[in-house]
């Protein structure tokens, strides 16, 4: 019997980094890939996870047993079509229904940007994306999916974006929870992440905001609206670079209700032509939104916006104030970058970045204070517009991560999807607070976690019943003392446990009873009955632990296999006590004998 197993984790991406999430785990001899993302900050091979780690060993489908995608953000699913259509992976892929619906749209969106700006867009054809998505199996929350007979998957609600899920993965006795990106606080359209006490062997959690304790959402919403309002009041244009789906819907709800309340007339546009389509997804997957949106959807669908109109490229040259939501969110390409280039030099204008921008993107550079941006080779732009970073991206903060650990009670924690320094801080905190191991491997670095191998045996229900019926073996706190025997038949892999009596029967051997009988005379002039009662009381007081096994009948007192009888002695002032016990109760029998001998001596 193997005493221990191992869980092996190797991040190919998102190890001490944000972007191109891709984590390989080996659990119970199964290899599972968690997410298959793309790095938005790089244009070279660093854009993809380091697949050579697996492909160098041969056929990728033989190596990877299944792929799980946590949500539709490109840093979590962007490399999926590359994996399936270029590297030829054709094994199972799992994601939730909304992810399956929305991921191809974002992939397609990205493809367009790549085609526009890059040579090597050949992996990204529309048909490749379609073919890739055909290989995907959609799962429901909490449904237990069995893959290849021994892998169990279960998705939990993660908040973050529509359809985002945390995955519980179990093979044999070992289990892993992978959070993907999650959010522990509900927002205007999504609920908070939820997981039960599933006690995984390992929790792999994101740690984007590992060190941040975030202020209240209300404050950020107020700041956002204040900034927007001030900018349009001074006649400026507001650019909000954003993913078409996700945070966009939350901010649109926010702006739409604000415009309604304040009676504002300044145009609000949503670019990319995705609005209506995107909102249709939200309408049809309304069961994935929060309680309030779900309960009111029949009468008023939150995703029917009154004030937000589709954007046309030509509008960016229009005079006067306006608010524009444009994709992509990190200003790394496409329309949002074009608008930025046009509006950046005017100080009346404003850029509000509502999400995380990975390093290398224009968004990241602007946010880190660069006032001259090389948007195209040798072409610099002066950034005079005001720049605001208001983090609406829904990641759990340090407190939220700690809360999740409390909720699911893992035996080990591994941090991904964060920055090294912040991870170190959180790791120390986790190890201190929970007294468990916490790992934070870099990309390509492997962590091995020893896990106890749980063996099982078959216990006869008869023995279980005997144990539960006998109070004398109750050690408290649900623990029971058990005497029994294991029996293993040749050729059987099942170890059986049963009572000793049944073991003899099964073994077909004759039990041999070894008994002792001793006699003690004590000074006692009362009747036999009274003497017996006296002895009974003495045993009851001295051996409280066996109280339930102690009985008195006409002839004798019995305690487990011990029998005590009282007889008249030749001497009227004395009684003869006969005590007898079976060998299995030798220590106890001897103890009772000594008690009687002490009585006799003290007389």
């Amino acid at each position: 019997m193997n005493i221990s197993n191992r869980i092996i984790v190797t991040p190919l991406g998102a190890g001490q980094d944000v972007g191109r999430s891709c984590i390989l785990i080996t659990i119970g001899n199964r290899n599972i890939m968690l997410d298959c993302g793309m790095h938005m900050g790089y244009q070279d091979e660093r854009k993809f996870p380091d697949f050579s780690y697996i492909t160098s060993d041969g056929n990728i489908t033989d190596i990877i047993d299944c792929v799980i995608i946590s949500h539709f953000h490109l840093d979590h699913c962007g490399a999926l079509s590359y994996l399936t259509e270029h590297l030829g992976y054709h094994g199972p892929i799992y994601m939730t229904h909304p992810t399956k619906a929305i991921a191809p749209i974002l992939l397609e969106d990205m493809r367009k940007h790549l085609v526009e700006y890059e040579e090597e867009a050949k992996y990204f054809t529309s048909s490749a994306i379609r073919d890739c998505m055909k290989k995907v199996t959609a799962v429901n929350l909490h449904e237990v999916v069995t893959v290849k007979e021994d892998i169990e998957l279960k998705a939990y609600y993660a908040g973050h974006v529509l359809g985002a899920a945390m995955f519980y993965i179990k093979v044999g006795n070992d289990s892993v929870v992978y959070t993907g990106d999650f959010s522990m606080t509900p927002d205007r359209h999504l609920g908070a992440a939820w997981i039960d006490k599933c006690r995984p062997t390992l929790l792999i959690t994101e740690s984007t905001y590992a060190t941040t304790i975030r202020d209240s959402k209300r404050c950020r919403e107020r700041d956002f609206l204040k900034n927007v309002h001030e900018c349009i009041d001074r006649g400026g244009k507001v650019l909000i670079p954003i993913f078409a789906l996700g945070r966009a819907q939350e901010l649109c709800i926010l702006i739409d209700t604000y415009w309604d309340r304040m009676g504002l007339k300044v145009p609000v546009y949503f670019a990319a032509g995705l609005t209506e389509k995107a909102n249709s997804y939200y309408k049809m997957f309304i069961t994935w939104t929060n309680q309030k949106v779900r309960q009111t959807f029949v009468h008023r669908n939150m995703f029917d916006f009154k004030h937000i109109k589709p954007f046309d490229k030509t509008y960016m040259h229009n005079p006067g104030p306006m608010v524009v939501f444009a994709t992509p969110g990190m200003l790394h390409a496409g329309l949002s970058l074009n608008i930025f280039k046009k509006w950046a030099p005017d100080e009346k204008n404003m850029l509000i970045v509502p999400g995380y921008c990975v390093s290398g993107t224009v968004g990241n550079k602007v946010l880190s204070g660069s006032k001259k941006i090389e948007a195209e080779p040798n072409k610099f732009i002066d950034v005079k517009m005001s720049v605001e970073y208001l983090s609406f991206s829904a990641h759990a903060d340090g407190k939220g991560i700690i809360q999740l650990i409390k909720n699911c009670e893992p035996q080990n924690v591994l941090l991904v999807h964060g920055e090294e320094e912040k991870m170190k801080f959180l790791r120390a905190k986790i190890m201190q607070e929970f007294n468990i191991n916490c790992y934070m491997p870099a990309n390509g670095e492997t962590v091995e976690i020893e896990t106890a191998n749980i063996h099982t045996f078959n216990m006869s229900t008869k023995l279980v019943k005997e144990i539960l019926d006998d109070q004398s073996n109750n050690l408290g706190n649900g623990k029971r003392l058990v005497h029994g025997a294991f029996l293993l038949k040749n050729g059987s892999s099942n170890l059986n446990a049963m009572s000793v009596k049944d073991t003899f029967k099964e073994l077909d051997i004759q039990r041999h009873t070894l008994r002792f009988t001793c006699t003690v005379e004590i000074k006692e002039s009362s009747t036999i009955q009274k003497t017996k009662t006296k002895l009974y009381n003495m045993l009851e007081n001295n051996l409280p632990i066996f109280k339930n096994k102690l009985t008195m009948s006409d002839g004798s007192i019995s305690l487990a296999s011990i029998l005590v009888t009282v007889e008249d002695s030749m001497d009227n002032n004395k009684k003869k006590i006969v005590i007898s016990w079976a060998n299995e109760d030798e220590p106890l029998g001897n103890h009772v004998l000594e008690m009687l001998q002490n009585m006799s001596k003290s007389d």
């Binding site: 449904e143 069961t287 294991f486 070894l514 008994r515 002792f516 632990i545």
Partner: protein, 656 residues
């Protein structure tokens, strides 16, 4: 385990099973068949045709019965009172003892408030998300129908003189147990006890057993149930369909090789093929419309009605009747249509795929957008009458024709012979349903559509799934009246143990669980050393600690700290730890040699019928030995001697 049957109608099932210490209710169907005995409730109060005359039994006069009974034109006698329903039997099981209720689909939960409200019920109700959403609509619609035309009087006395009443009223089944409907407040309170689950989710119940819902293919979110208790598997099959309609297909795999299967809710129209009925319906709708008549289809607010929208609209398109409007009238019509479009995960693959585009999964969403399908809350809303264009098709409830907006339409359109009423819900005999409205000029068609399995499909399924024991409603073992002795309407009772059950009965079935699977800790595994005691059999005694917290077992070694608070006395610890089990026969020669070695020189051996007696006079000790035992009578008060003797005896015996 015990199975209790609480319902007399297998299509409104309600069973309770007691397993280990857990009490589970399977479904809680509400039988509305009783409402046929009541006068219809008119949704528009001042529009009440009086076709029924007061009635009292002949040669009988008692003021208490006055006003309770009416006779309609077909001579049928009906009760003038708020309608009453047949609820699950209350005497057999105390609802306060129920730990969980498993609800298979929205049709089998309509008695839920009767179970959970004011009964001391403390348990949890499990159902899928669609079952909850749509079930809520069914409950709300039912309450709305009954409450919109309140009856001030509650007739009771007729139940006392049942023997004086004409059929079918006199054949009423236990009318004393009939109950008036619950209130909306009770519905809402009842639904707060619901916990939503997914298909294939494993739900642990008190740590003792695991329950899983699997798709049954009957309607949105409909389930069958698999219950695991240790190595045993029980399945409960409720409404199940093997046909391809809008719901996710049935999952057979998880139902295979059960130790016990409980079957209920087969089709209520065993002689009717749903496909050909649907065909007939489409044809007669087209004929009626072409003759300038309108069509009334009594229906429930979800389920088959979605398929009717889809099939009928495409049939009308193909017969150049595409401009004919369809009206869906129900207090929950709008919600039903909206919900149907947000439950993609629970739909057939082809409907599910549509949302990826994204398009609404049901064509009726498009029909609503284009204005061909219109929905209204009530027949008495002005909006409806401003909009209503005839000829048209109207879908509305309730299929019993005793309450709901349909009552108005039967009266309103009934006088026109060009109109047609088409019955698709098989639950109510249509002629009985129409009785209080007679005479009618409108045509009546009976096209029962029940997608639940028929007997042939059920027999095939049972054969494939191979349950060891099958429990059936009694009526599934007997051919139904009116169908002669046709075996195609019974469940085969071959190849396995089959038990039948009916209302008020209890079946005890031994599950015979011999072992439970228990994990042990690493230390415990290491501590076990098996010795071969017989050829092919290895054994090892153990003293260990069984953790039984939360009904979940785990075996661990006995750790000192566990006993620390119990005792520190060494004798007790030894008693608890050092058990030995001797076997075989005493090796007498070895024993005597050992005694000599110890300096005991005077053993005197006497043989008797069972064995022999050994006297050790110098040590004041007598030893009786036979094949099965050794008994030492030690008169010498010397512990050392006794323990020495003990170890000598034990050396001459086998032990483990």
């Amino acid at each position: 385990m015990k199975v209790y049957c609480l319902s007399e109608d297998p299509n409104k099932p309600c069973f309770v099973i007691k397993l280990k210490s857990v009490t589970i209710m399977l479904d809680c169907g509400l039988s509305a068949h009783s409402v046929l005995n009541f006068l219809p409730l008119y949704p528009i109060p001042d529009w009440k045709p009086n076709k029924a005359a007061a009635w009292i039994p002949k040669n009988f006069s008692d003021p208490q019965i006055e006003g309770e009974l009416n006779e309609c034109m077909t001579n049928q006698v009906l009760v003038n009172s708020a309608p009453e329903f047949m609820t699950p039997l209350t005497k057999l099981v105390d609802f306060a003892d129920i730990d969980v209720i498993l609800v298979s689909n929205y049709m089998t939960m309509l008695a839920l408030p009767f179970i959970t409200e004011n009964t001391g019920f403390k348990g949890v109700v499990y159902m899928t998300e669609p079952t909850l959403h749509i079930g809520k609509l069914f409950l709300e619609e039912l309450v709305d129908f009954v409450e919109q035309s309140p009856k001030p009087n509650v007739a009771k006395y007729w139940k006392e003189i049942l023997h004086l009443l004409p059929p079918p009223l006199c054949n009423s089944f236990k009318p004393h147990t009939w109950k008036q409907l619950y209130s909306l407040a009770q519905v809402n309170s009842s639904l707060t006890r619901v916990q939503m689950i997914s298909y294939d989710q494993k739900i642990e119940i008190t740590g003792a057993l695991t329950v899983t819902a699997v798709s049954s293919g009957y309607c949105l979110g409909s389930s069958n149930w698999v219950i695991y208790l240790e190595s045993k598997k029980l399945v409960y099959v409720s409404n199940t369909s093997t046909l391809t309609t809008h719901p996710r297909p049935m999952d057979q795999v998880n139902l295979k090789n059960a130790d016990l299967m409980l079957l209920s809710s087969l089709t209520q129209a065993p002689a009717a093929n749903p496909d050909s009925m649907l065909g007939e319906l489409c044809l007669s709708v087209a004929v009626t419309l072409r003759n300038n008549g309108s069509v009334l289809i009594p229906c429930y607010p979800s389920g088959v009605v979605y398929d009717l929208f889809e099939c009928l609209s495409s049939h009308l398109d193909s017969t150049a009747l595409g401009q004919i409007p369809m009206y869906f009238i129900s207090p929950v019509a709008h919600s039903s249509l909206e919900y149907s479009n947000i439950l993609a995960e629970w739909l057939s693959q082809s409907k599910q795929n549509k949302v990826y585009f994204p398009e609404e999964p049901f064509p009726h969403a498009q029909l609503v957008k284009s204005g061909r399908l219109k929905h209204f809350k009530h027949v008495y809303t002005d909006d409806l009458w401003n909009d209503l264009r005839q000829p048209c098709v109207v879908f509305c409830g309730h299929p019993s024709l005793r309450f709901g907006d349909v009552v108005h339409f039967v009266e309103y359109w009934g006088t026109n012979p060009q109109n047609t009423i088409i019955f698709t819900e098989p639950e109510f005999p249509y002629l009985e349903a129409l009785a209080p409205f007679q005479p009618l000029s409108m045509k009546a068609m009976h096209c029962p559509i029940d997608t639940s399995m028929n007997f042939t499909q059920a027999n095939k399924m049972i054969k494939d799934l191979k349950p060891a024991v099958l429990i059936l409603p009694e009526c599934y073992a007997i051919p139904p009246a009116g169908f002669g002795h046709k075996n195609e309407f019974v469940i085969d009772q071959v190849d396995r143990k089959v038990l039948t059950i009916k209302r008020g009965e209890v079946i005890s079935e031994k599950l015979d669980i011999k072992t439970v699977n228990v994990p042990f800790t690493t230390e415990m595994v290491v501590s076990v050393t098996l010795n071969e005691l017989q050829s092919g059999l290895k054994a090892s005694k153990f003293t260990a600690v069984l953790d039984t917290k939360d009904n979940k077992y785990k075996l661990d070694i006995l750790r000192d700290d566990l006993l620390a608070n119990k005792t520190t006395e060494p004798y007790l610890l030894e008693t608890l730890f050092k058990k030995t089990y001797e076997w075989g026969q005493l090796d007498i020669d070895r024993f005597l040699r050992a005694l000599t070695n110890e300096g005991v020189s005077d053993p005197k051996i006497e043989h008797n019928t069972h064995g022999y007696t050994i006297h050790l006079k110098s040590e004041d000790t007598l030893i009786q030995v036979d094949d099965k035992s050794t008994h030492i009578f030690c008169e010498k008060m010397d512990k050392n001697w006794r323990l020495k003797l003990r170890s000598i005896v034990m050396e001459c015996l086998n032990s483990f």
